[in-house]
Amino acid sequence: MQEKKIVCFMCNMVFCTNELQVPENTNVARVQCIGQMDPTVVLDVFANGVGGVMLAGCRPPDCHFVDGNLQAERAVKMIKKLISLSGLDPERVKLVWVSPLDSGDLSDYVKTFSEELKEFGGSPLKGGKLNSKTLLNLMAAKSAASDFRLRVLLGREEQLTEIVNAYGEKVPQGEFDVLLNDIAETEFVRHKIHLLTRAKPLSVKALAEQVDLKPSDVLCHIVELRRKNMIALDHVEGTTPIYKALEVK
């Protein structure tokens, strides 16, 4: 694959022209609406060794699809969290609002973004390959982002923070953000454990070293993962139980 430092996802509606001036190091992918961006796609892009991802959406309150741009804003919040959990700088993801009336070109936005990216040293690629640890983290983040808990939370954000929940209560935005961060962290660790044990059956202690947590916390996660049928006891070595991931679905 040709090395590209920046990928720009762009809402179809943002620039009316087909002749975009795009810098050399950038790939542009047009999507129907920037709200269509699945967090997993962005994480996948990073896993492919791209240095930065820019999402260009229509400036609120204008959206061809009513509020797709606001959905994207919510998704980006979560993507940033997952990226930073993976060990990359969250600023590598940038959401820009563009209006069709703006005189500037996409290249202007990309240029500013690549300037900002220089601070992090361009691409996280080292010698054409991602650090295996980061790659594993990104895969864990991707699998967390495609799992039920984070998606359902993200999908209900508007309902919870702007309308009401099932009990008729409105959740304050700050409270929701804390909740989302919390759940993102938990899910990230659980999926990382799942990925690690899929490669090779591991003990709680070995896992605790790899995910940098206390063994007791890892055990809590394993209990939860067992309950979800994602992990099972493989065998016991002496007195140490060794766990192995189960294939999901």
Partner: protein, 434 residues
Amino acid sequence: MRYCIPDFRLEKFVVANEIAYIRDLGVHIETGTEFGRTCKSGKSCTLESLKNEGYKAVFISIGTQKGMGLNIPGEDLEGVIDAVDFLGAIARGENLEVSKKVAIIGGGNSAMDAARVAKRLGADEVTVLYRRSREEMPALPDEVAATEKEGIKFQFLVAPKQIIGENGKVKAVECLHMKLGEPDESGRRRPVPVSSSEHQYAVNLIIPALGQTAETSCLPPELLDEKGRLVQVDPLTFETKVPGIFAGGDIATGPASIIEAVSAGKKAAASIHLYLSGKDLRKARDENIEETIWAKNLSGLKKKQRRYEAREEKPHLSLEEVVQYLDSAKRNAMFESFRCLGCGPCAECLASHELCEGDKAVVEESQCIGCNVCAVICPYEAIKKNENEIAQVDETLCKGCGVCAARCPQNAITMKKLTNQRILSLALNAQEDA
């Protein structure tokens, strides 16, 4: 109307509408037909051929379409174009190169139109040369004021003597100063040249706008007046010297306004009706034919005291303001187009195939758990749970934004076209893909 009046004065859709009214009345319009001579290629007709085909009456209204020449040396140089041809070429969408300095010769409305069009086409300096003074100008005062406001210069009391060329192109126009003498038959003071007052204006384009004359070579000589310039008609009945042949408009009166031509047409139509019914054109004429009376009780109307207020002055925008307005209108139109909901009537537009994705969401029913996230998140309420608690996409409402697919906790929703897989491959191989 379509070719010689610029559309900032008479918009083309007005002309098109008027023609459509006439056509909708059942009038058959034969375009692309040459009149007056028999040519082998293309369609043509003469008065005789029309008579032979069974037409009982003919109405000639060919107008005055030829510009009156300057009749001075150098008229054939490149860079001299008559106002009628100039305006016509612009209206036909021809790409005329308007050079830096333009001189308009004449002081009528056509001269004003030509000057303003030249300015709009990007001429640096446009000067109107007129042989009398401002008071004698035949152009409407409003038009003159508007022209001046657009930055067009006026030179009064000058008349061109000759056009000076270089390599076959216009270089300058030599003019004489004039002074006003005794009034002539039109009531305006006749311009008299001041001897040895020659002076030059450096110009690249000269647009004479000295009035129009008819192209009478296509008409039989028995229809024309003594000078052979116009068709001679009875001013009441609009019949020519030949029975059954009528004429009206500029061809009968000389250059005049549209409303006079409309009036002539209506009166001639009445005459033609009488002629075809075999009645006397003068005696059987009902003079009230033109009047439309809306009020039934006229006497009551007359008694009423009326106060007439001066008409509110219409705002006139300067050229810069118009350009500014058009720019913002263009921006607004572009902006509005982005608000399109893609409801479909534009489906007739064949260009939309390329531009619109026309995507739809698809639910994998075995994976859906009925969590309702998609139904809440869909901006168009296109997704509802069915009786089995499974999300169902109403394809008529779905606009394909893909937000539901991006949020489905079970990954049960995919887009038909722009799937996550495709977005990813676009992102990584966009260059090759394009």
